[in-house]
């Protein structure tokens, strides 16, 4: 009897948890409703913000796209995030491989590992001001500079992840390839790189979530170039929205939609990726 009770669905808890999702949905619901309304519908009571609009019109979204130069900002965000992901997977995986394999019997590589991984504790605040000067002097106060900086900032975490994952790949794999006459470089790209595919997914997801939403780096590095990322556009156009909340919220929704679509498509991989990354 007891066994059976244990197997049964806990409906009370299920209902409580379903009601709890209101904490997630409420702010999003409100944002969507306001984005569809006209300023004249925004009365000062709760209904003004939460009741359905008189007409469902995409006018606010159209205007917000123009005001914030939406497609351009979206393009920049995509360019920066995708480039960072590609560079991270290529550079961090091979660095993780070399350091991970060599540190087993070489002190110098063990030291390199600690040197890079300890970079995880360095807050952006301490790098920020010197980096602004440095990137400006090097002509990197632009999108390329931001991509380069992200590649460096995510190196500690990703090298840690890759070299940790390497422990699952037996040395015999490389030895077999070496006997066949392949050199280290080819062995890596033909044998090891494909085998690290699950970790590539984790790295891509963690790097993407971090860079897509980041405000501080593009804010200080790209200021003055006239270029925006999606979050940066929201910040820079705050004054233009003025008290037109409907326009502002249409713009916020537009800024949230790309990552929400990405999440809905890759939800399973993202949840696994985040859990994997943290556990390692």
């Amino acid at each position: 009897m007891k066994e059976k009770a244990e197997q049964r669905t806990n409906w009370v808890l299920t209902v409580v948890l379903i009601l709890g999702t209101l904490t997630v949905f409420f702010p999003l619901y409100m944002a969507i409703i306001i984005a569809f309304k006209q300023p004249s519908e925004m009365t000062n009571d709760i209904a003004g913000a939460l009741s359905f609009p008189a007409h469902w019109s995409f006018e606010n979204f159209r205007e917000a796209m123009v005001v914030t130069d939406f497609w351009h900002s979206l393009g920049n965000s995509l360019l920066i995030t995708l480039s960072t992901i590609v560079l991270s997977i290529v550079i961090h995986s091979i660095a993780g491989y070399v350091i991970g394999r060599a540190m087993a019997n070489k002190k110098s590589f063990r030291f390199m590992y600690l040197y890079i991984v300890s970079g995880m504790f360095v807050p952006f605040s301490i790098l920020m001001m010197p980096l602004v000067k440095q990137t400006a002097q090097m002509g990197l106060g632009n999108r390329l500079g931001v991509i380069l900086l992200y590649t460096v900032f995510y190196m500690p975490m990703n090298v840690l992840l890759y070299s940790g994952y390497l422990k699952n790949i037996p040395l015999a794999m490389e030895e077999a390839a070496n006997i066949d006459g392949a050199n280290t470089w080819t062995t890596y790209w033909r044998v090891i790189f494909p085998m690290m595919a699950p970790m590539h997914a984790t790295v891509a997801i963690l790097t993407a979530l971090g860079t897509w939403n980041d405000v501080m780096t593009p804010l200080v590095i790209m200021s003055g170039t006239g270029q925006n990322t999606l979050p940066l556009a929201q910040l820079n156009f705050q004054t233009q929205f003025g008290t037109n909340f409907n326009l502002a919220f249409a713009s916020y929704i537009l800024a949230l939609i790309p990552i929400l679509i990405f999440y809905i498509i890759c939800q399973k991989q993202i949840l696994n990726g985040v859990a994997n990354g943290a556990v390692k």
């Binding site: 244990e6 049964r8 806990n10 808890l13 948890l17 379903i18 709890g20 999702t21 997630v24 702010p27 409100m30 306001i34 000062n44 709760i46 913000a49 550079i91 070399v98 394999r101 590589f109 390199m112 504790f121 807050p123 952006f124 605040s125 301490i126 790098l127 920020m128 001001m129 010197p130 980096l131 602004v132 380069l148 900086l149 460096v152 190196m155 050199n183 280290t184 470089w185 939403n213 405000v215 501080m216 999606l230 979050p231 929201q234 910040l235 705050q238 909340f245 502002a248 919220f249 916020y252 949230l256 990552i259 929400l260 939800q267 993202i270 949840l271 985040v274 859990a275 943290a278 556990v279």
Partner: protein, 291 residues
């Protein structure tokens, strides 16, 4: 050198040296520059000279810096405790025998993928218009005005948003922790007739202890470095009551002509973060061993 370097070692060095140089150029070098600037009166432009330890001395007497440390610590402490308690409870719920398990897990993770800045703007509207309307109709005194405009309560608004986003992340980590606990352990404790409460504290909790360590370190670090939410919710106000250390360094270091002084602040902030992380990890490791 006993042996001539073989081919593999050459390839390894050829790969790792450029990577190390890149890391040095954009991580270690700016950090060292920051340390050097911290001993100068550099304003961010023009000429400057060394001032020895004066910036560091001034840090300890500067009221604004003191206030920002107080706020940041209060925020990080409350945030870390709240997030970890809520996440653990959420994880237990989402790991129980419930329906729609994966859909619910998916929904509760949404706050984490959304950017802190935009979320801050959305919540700012809730705090400024929705909550006061609720406060007025229910006659709740402290809600009748925007809490973001109150020197006393604004930090709670920032805290709510920070916790709302961080719970999502930590819940996922706790769920993966709970999944490492084998079913047999629960069966054994059931046979022993242990109550659910006792089972949690004596069986489950010790087994997920490593995940508690990860979550404590991660969330403390993230809360200490809070920036986006401040930027969109309060801009440090009112009366600098919600000015975080990161925000102050950005504000006064970049625009306020305090490049040198805020560099000193950043150096101390860095040391504080390292010290807290190491402290948490050693204490928690000792706890893990005892169990």
């Amino acid at each position: 050198m006993k042996k001539k370097m073989n081919n593999q070692e050459k390839t390894f060095l050829a790969i790792v040296i450029p990577v190390l140089l890149l890391f040095f150029a954009f991580n270690t070098l700016p950090m060292l520059k920051g340390v050097i600037y911290s001993f100068t009166n550099y304003r961010g432009y023009g000429s400057y000279e060394g001032v020895g330890l004066r910036n560091y001395m001034d840090l300890f007497t500067d009221a604004r810096v003191g206030k920002s440390y107080l706020f940041t610590f209060k925020y990080a402490l409350c945030g870390t405790v709240l997030v970890n308690v809520i996440s653990l409870v959420m994880a237990l719920g989402l790991n129980a025998r419930i329906r729609f398990k994966s859909a619910l897990r998916g929904i509760y993770f949404v706050p984490n993928i959304l950017g802190g800045l935009v979320i801050g703007y959305i919540f700012s509207f809730i705090f400024t218009y929705i909550l006061p309307a609720v406060g007025n109709s229910l006659n709740i005194g402290f809600l009748q005005n925007s809490i973001l405009a109150s020197e006393k309560y604004a930090w709670i608004g920032v805290l709510v948003v920070g916790v709302w986003q961080a719970v999502a992340m930590n819940t996922i980590i706790y769920i993966s922790g709970l999944q490492t606990v084998p079913d047999e352990v629960y069966e054994a404790s059931m046979l022993d007739g242990a109550s659910k409460w006792k089972e949690f504290w004596q069986v489950t909790f010790p087994l997920v202890m490593p995940f508690v360590t990860i979550n404590l370190v991660l969330s403390t670090k993230n809360f200490l470095m809070v920036f986006d939410q401040i930027m969109s919710l309060t801009k440090g106000g009112p009366a600098m009551s919600t000015e975080s250390i990161s925000y102050l360094i950005y504000r006064n270091g970049m625009d306020g002509g305090q490049f040198g002084f805020q560099s000193a602040n950043a150096v101390i902030f860095f040391l504080v973060i390292v010290a807290i992380s190491i402290f948490q990890m050693t204490v928690m490791n000792r706890k893990e061993e005892q169990l």
